[in-house]
C-alpha cells in the first residue's frame, strides 16, 4: 500500500515475528512495518480488534509492538537498527515477558 518516495537511507535488516524485512536507516519501526506491507501489528487486549500504526507521532498508542524483548513499545517512536527483533502482540501481553 505504501511506496517509498526515494531510497535515500542505507538498508537495515530486522525481523518481524522471525521473518526478515528490510528497512532504511532513519525509519521508525512503524514506518518499516508499513513499508514492508505489514498492516495490523497487534490485537487489542480486551476485544481482540486489530490495530496498525495510525498517528505516527506517539499519540494514539495503536502501534504497540514488542521490540528486542520489551513489550508494548510505540513503534512510531523507535528508530530501527540492524538486527532488531520486532514481535507483533496478540491480545493481552504475557506477564513477565
Amino acid at each position: 500500500m505504501f511506496r517509498r518516495l526515494a531510497d535515500a537511507g542505507t538498508a537495515v535488516g530486522l525481523t518481524v515475528d522471525g521473518r526478515p524485512i528490510e528497512a532504511r536507516a532513519g525509519d521508525t519501526v512503524a514506518a518499516a512495518l508499513l513499508a514492508a506491507g505489514i498492516g495490523p501489528c497487534r490485537t487489542t487486549p480486551v476485544s481482540a480488534a486489530p490495530r496498525a500504526p495510525y498517528c505516527l507521532m506517539g499519540v494514539c498508542f495503536d502501534c504497540l509492538v514488542t521490540i528486542d524483548g520489551v513489550g508494548s513499545r510505540q513503534a512510531c517512536l523507535v528508530p530501527v537498527h540492524e538486527g532488531m527483533k520486532v514481535e507483533t502482540q496478540q491480545g493481552k501481553r504475557e506477564a513477565g515477558r
Binding site: G71, S72, A95, G96, R97
Partner: protein, 374 residues
C-alpha cells in the same frame, strides 16, 4: 407533588449515594440525588475496588459482621443490577490474600487476625494464616521474598468504575432524579420538610440521606448530626493489561477482569489529590515486584492519587438525627464493599424512617462521645 419536592434527597452521587438512592427507589421512594460536578473529589473514581472482609473490625466486632453481610449479599446485588441494566460489574469472590514480605510482617498479621478472632461477638470469617508453600499453591507467581500470608474465602473484587456507571444507569432507569453541579450549601427544616439549598435551586424533601463522604463533616451538623472524618491520600499504580496470572486479589495488588494490574499500598496525610508523590509510587511498585517479580517487565500506564473517605475511627457512621428526624448519615470508608448493604439494608431502613438498631446501632456517631481524659 411539586417538581422540586421528593420523598428522599440523597446528598452525594458517589458509590455510597447512588447505591442508597437505588435501594430507596426500589422501595418506591421518589428520590433526588444532589451531586457536585465533574471536579468533585470523588473516591468512586479512585478506589481500589476490593470487596474485602479480612482484617475488618478490629476494635468493633459489629463491623466484621456488617462487612460479612455485605460480602454475602454482593453476588445477588450484582445479579440484580445486571438484570436491571444489562451491565456486568464483574464481581468475583475467589477469596483474597494478604502477603507478608518478612517474618515480622507475617507475625504482625497473625497477631491482628488472632485479636480479631478473639473479640467478643466476632463473626467467624474463616481467615487463616498460610505459609509460603500454601500461598505458592494458590498464586505460583510469588517471589522469593514472600514468606507467607493470610487468606479469607469471602474476599473478592469488582470492576468499580463499571459499578459506578452501572449504579448510575440503574437509578436513571428507576426514575431517580440526578442533579450534578448541585453542591448542597445548606440544609434546614421548614414546614415539616427539608430544604436543601444549592447555587442552582432549592430542593425539598421529606427525608435527607447524607452520603457525601468526607463532606458529611460539613453537612451533618446542619441537621443535628455529626460525622467526624479524617481523609487521607492513597496512590495507585496501574499496569498495561496482562494475561491472567493472579487469580486471587491481594490486599495491595489485584488483576482486574480485563487484565490490568492495580497496585495500591500507600497512605499519606494529605488531602491534595491533584498531585503524586513519586517516592510513594516507587515504593509501592517495588513491594509489588517483590511480591510478583514478573511485574518488573510490565509497563505502567498510569498512576493517580485519590482521597480516601475515612471516618475518624475508620468504622462506618449510620445515624438518624434526633433533633431533625428524617435526616440520616450514610458514611463509611468502604463504599465498594458495603454497596450491597447500602442498597439492600440501609436504604429500606431510611425508606421506613427508622434505622434497625440490631444491625447498625454500633455505628452511631454517639460512639465518639466519650470523656476525653488528660
Amino acid at each position: 407533588m411539586a417538581a422540586d419536592a421528593f420523598d428522599v434527597a440523597v446528598v452525594g452521587g458517589g458509590l455510597v449515594g447512588v447505591a442508597t438512592a437505588w435501594g430507596l427507589a426500589r422501595e418506591g421512594c421518589r428520590v433526588v440525588v444532589l451531586d457536585e460536578g465533574d471536579r468533585a473529589v470523588r473516591a468512586s473514581r479512585g478506589n481500589f475496588a476490593l470487596v474485602w472482609v479480612q482484617s475488618k473490625g478490629l476494635g468493633l466486632p459489629a463491623y466484621t459482621s456488617w462487612t460479612l453481610r455485605s460480602s454475602n449479599a454482593w453476588a445477588g446485588f450484582a445479579q440484580t443490577l445486571k438484570e436491571e441494566t444489562g451491565l456486568d460489574v464483574c464481581f468475583q469472590r475467589p477469596g483474597g490474600l494478604h502477603l507478608a514480605l518478612s517474618d515480622h510482617e507475617l507475625e504482625a498479621r497473625a497477631t491482628t487476625l488472632k485479636r480479631l478472632h478473639n473479640q467478643a461477638g466476632a463473626a467467624d470469617y474463616k481467615a487463616e494464616m498460610l505459609d509460603r508453600a500454601q500461598v505458592a499453591k494458590m498464586v505460583p507467581a510469588i517471589g522469593p521474598d514472600v514468606v507467607g500470608g493470610s487468606y479469607c474465602p469471602f474476599d473478592g473484587h469488582v470492576n468499580s468504575l463499571r459499578l459506578f456507571r452501572t449504579l448510575h444507569t440503574a437509578i436513571h432507569a428507576r426514575d431517580v432524579t440526578y442533579l450534578p453541579s448541585h453542591r448542597v450549601e445548606s440544609i434546614f427544616k421548614e414546614g415539616g420538610e427539608f430544604r436543601l439549598r444549592t447555587a442552582v435551586r432549592e430542593i425539598r424533601a421529606a427525608k435527607v440521606a447524607l452520603a457525601a463522604s468526607n463532606a458529611n463533616m460539613r453537612l451533618a451538623p446542619m441537621v443535628g448530626l455529626e460525622a467526624p472524618m479524617r481523609p487521607e491520600r492513597g496512590q495507585i499504580v496501574v499496569t498495561e493489561r496482562l494475561r491472567p496470572f493472579l487469580h486471587h486479589p491481594v490486599t495491595t495488588i489485584r488483576q482486574t477482569d480485563e487484565g490490568t494490574v492495580m497496585i495500591g499500598d500507600s497512605k499519606e496525610d494529605s488531602t491534595d489529590s491533584s498531585r503524586l508523590t513519586i517516592g510513594v509510587s516507587a515504593k509501592e511498585a517495588e513491594r509489588a515486584v517483590r511480591m510478583f517479580p514478573l511485574l518488573a517487565r510490565a509497563n505502567v500506564v498510569r498512576t493517580w492519587s485519590a482521597i480516601r473517605v475515612m471516618t475518624q475511627d475508620g468504622f462506618p457512621i449510620y445515624d438518624q438525627s434526633e433533633s431533625h428526624p428524617g435526616a440520616f448519615t450514610v458514611c463509611c470508608h468502604s463504599g465498594v464493599t458495603l454497596a450491597a448493604n447500602h442498597a439492600l439494608s440501609i436504604a429500606p431502613m431510611i425508606a421506613r424512617g427508622a434505622l434497625d438498631g440490631s444491625l447498625v446501632a454500633p455505628f452511631s456517631a454517639r460512639r465518639f462521645h466519650v470523656q476525653k481524659t488528660g
